[in-house]
């Protein structure tokens, strides 16, 4: 910015506006901005809240990055990205494509029901699914009914199935959101365009690529941002469904942070991990926002 422009800004700035933004900015600074720096500061110390802290520089990062538990936690996050974000988006796109020409009656009724998983407390969601997956729960009794007793199991308690089982909970939470936003975006597509297209002999694949995707890319990127953040954080569902177990089979970074900060009291390591997690999430959302801006310009 040139000096002239800066001076111009200073002259025409309404300094009284600072009074208007003061309460919001003050609260935001004290309880969001300052804690971010405090987290970074803490990540350079070895501290257990009891004995005095010791400055260890980057040791906590070295420790965290050489801990296999962290890698398994982040790899579980990748699986959750698939189940919480990519599958719901794929399902949403497929259904939107299918419904492209249909004028749906009772749309607001379907919307209200499809949105339900988003408004219910994650704790209630986890409890319901704990029952669905339970050894004597609905899935297993259905399997038994069809003579497949052999594959019945406690789905959340089994090392082989727990990760996917928790993943499916996320698919259930997010597919409705994707459907609702995509369907509402698709309403901007004019029926004339679709009709003309069909006369020209376009098949569904072409419709998908050349009509649907370009017209709802704004919605796609918003759903990507919301669901990716959800997948990478994902504390509530994991905590209330499995607590990361059995073993570490559903452990995720946010659970690792919680346990090391508040159960084992490795405050420095926990702070280092939360800084790393925040960086990962911020770069993913930052890239998506950038891509979105670029395609809008």
């Amino acid at each position: 910015m040139s000096l002239k422009k800066l001076m111009w800004r200073f002259r025409y700035a309404e300094w009284s506006s600072l009074l208007f933004i003061a309460p919001a900015i003050l609260l935001f600074s004290i309880f969001v901005v300052y804690p971010i720096f405090q987290t970074i500061w803490l990540s350079f110390w070895k501290w257990d809240r009891i004995s005095p802290g010791v400055w260890v520089g980057l040791d906590n990062y070295k420790k965290v990055l050489s801990n296999p538990e962290i890698y398994s936690a982040f790899s579980h996050s990748l699986v959750f990205v698939l189940f919480y974000s990519l599958i719901p988006i794929a399902v949403g796109l497929l259904i939107t494509l299918l419904l492209l020409r249909v004028k749906i009656r009772g749309e607001s009724f379907f919307r209200a029901i499809l949105f339900l998983p988003q408004i219910i407390s994650t704790v209630v969601v986890a409890i319901s699914w704990r029952w669905i997956y339970a050894a004597d729960g609905p899935i297993n009794s259905l399997l038994t009914k069809f003579g497949a007793e052999k594959i019945t199991t406690a789905w959340l308690g089994n090392f082989d199935t727990s990760l996917i089982a928790v993943g499916i909970i996320g698919t259930w939470i997010n597919y409705g959101l994707a459907m609702i936003l995509f369907l509402s975006g698709a309403q901007r597509i004019s029926q004339d365009l679709l009709d003309a297209d069909r006369i020209d002999g376009a098949n569904m694949r072409q419709e998908f690529r050349y009509i649907l995707i370009p017209s709802i890319k704004g919605e796609i990127s918003i759903v990507l941002i919301i669901t990716l953040t959800f997948a990478l954080r994902n504390f509530d569902i994991v905590w209330n469904a499995t607590q990361g177990g059995p073993g570490n089979s559903t452990n995720v970074p946010s659970l690792f942070i919680y346990k090391s900060a508040f159960v084992n009291r490795y405050v420095g390591e926990a702070a280092a991990t939360s800084f790393l997690l925040a960086i990962v999430i911020l770069s993913v959302t930052g890239l998506l926002l950038l891509a979105r801006k670029e395609s809008n310009d």
């Binding site: 700035a13 309404e14 009284s16 506006s17 208007f20 933004i21 309460p23 919001a24 609260l27 935001f28 309880f31 969001v32 804690p35 405090q38 987290t39 803490l42 259904i95 020409r101 249909v102 004028k103 749906i104 379907f110 209200a112 029901i113 499809l114 949105f115 339900l116 408004i119 219910i120 407390s121 994650t122 704790v123 969601v125 409890i127 319901s128 704990r130 029952w131 669905i132 609905p138 259930w172 409705g176 936003l181 069909r198 918003i222 759903v223 953040t229 990478l232 954080r233 509530d236 209330n240 970074p253 946010s254 942070i257 919680y258 508040f262 405050v267 926990a270 702070a271 997690l277 925040a278």
Partner: protein
């Protein structure tokens, strides 16, 4: 150009989606109404529904406390956030705020930052201020964390108000506070209402902050936290009682959703498109 077949498939798919969305809830309601033993069935029946699990969950879980405390926390967070965000949103939309761009980028940063990035520091802060396990520890950080969303939402709305309306108000001698109070806020009523609903829902459902910041004061624990402790407690491990507790806790939100869902979903759709 729509044929019957296409239409049938469409409705079938929608209905299937709706059934899947509702099934987990249906299944815990179902579970919560089953009785553990056959002899107690006679006592707590209501139009043929067995309600014993509900009575047990309500008595053991003390959810009336949790609901009041959630109601209090969520209302405080919504009111405080709205007050600060309306002022700031107005300034960012209609005044020449110095360093506006920098501050807005910071807010956007705060919007996408995960709570995990601040939760440890918030715990240390509240602990050194002796505010852990108090309402303050839950209200103040949540107001601050809701601020980016609220300010950006209201800024977007206020900047769509035609400039002529605001100019004519200032010609009539209204100062900034008056034009905000008597012209902009009435115009923004429905946007503010939607925002308030969303903020209330987010705060009501917040779990991690409650778990960290009010870990050991059962009298002010919010609903999600006390349900989580209730379900994790071995003493309450009979699934039907836990299910009843979950249904009880979900009921007020479901009831409110019945009335607010149109506004809520419309808000989310329009917000998603604008942001």
């Amino acid at each position: 150009m729509i044929n019957i077949k296409e239409k049938t498939i469409a409705y079938f798919v929608l209905a299937l989606g709706a059934v899947i969305a509702i099934y987990p809830l249906f299944s815990i309601v179902n579970l919560s109404l089953t009785s553990k033993s056959n002899n107690s069935k006679v006592q707590n029946e209501f139009f043929g529904f067995y309600l014993g699990n509900y009575i047990e969950a309500w008595q053991r879980g003390a959810f009336n406390h949790a609901m009041l405390s959630s109601l209090f926390v969520s209302s405080c967070v919504v009111l405080l956030t709205l007050f600060c965000a309306i002022l700031a949103g107005y300034a960012f939309a209609l005044m020449q705020v110095p360093f506006a761009k920098t501050i807005l980028v910071l807010l956007l940063f705060g919007l996408v930052m995960p709570y995990e990035g601040v939760v440890i520091s918030l715990y240390e802060m509240m602990s050194s201020l002796h505010l852990l396990n108090t309402y303050w520890a839950l209200i103040l950080p949540q107001v601050a964390l809701s601020m980016p969303f609220a300010v950006l939402w209201l800024r977007t709305f206020f900047s769509t108000v035609p400039k002529s309306i605001i100019e004519s108000a200032s010609l009539d001698g209204a100062n900034k506070i008056q034009s905000l109070r008597f012209i902009l806020i009435p115009l923004a009523k429905s946007a503010i209402g939607t925002l308030a609903t969303l903020l209330f829902l987010f705060t009501w459902n917040e779990f991690l902050l409650a778990l960290v910041l009010i870990p050991s004061n059962t009298s002010i624990q919010t609903v999600p936290l006390s349900l989580s402790f209730f379900a994790g407690n071995r003493r309450n491990s009979e699934p039907p009682v836990t299910a009843a507790a979950a249904v009880l806790v979900a009921l007020p939100v479901l009831f409110a959703y019945l009335f607010l869902q149109r506004r809520l979903i419309r808000g989310i759709i329009s917000g998603a498109v604008k942001e």
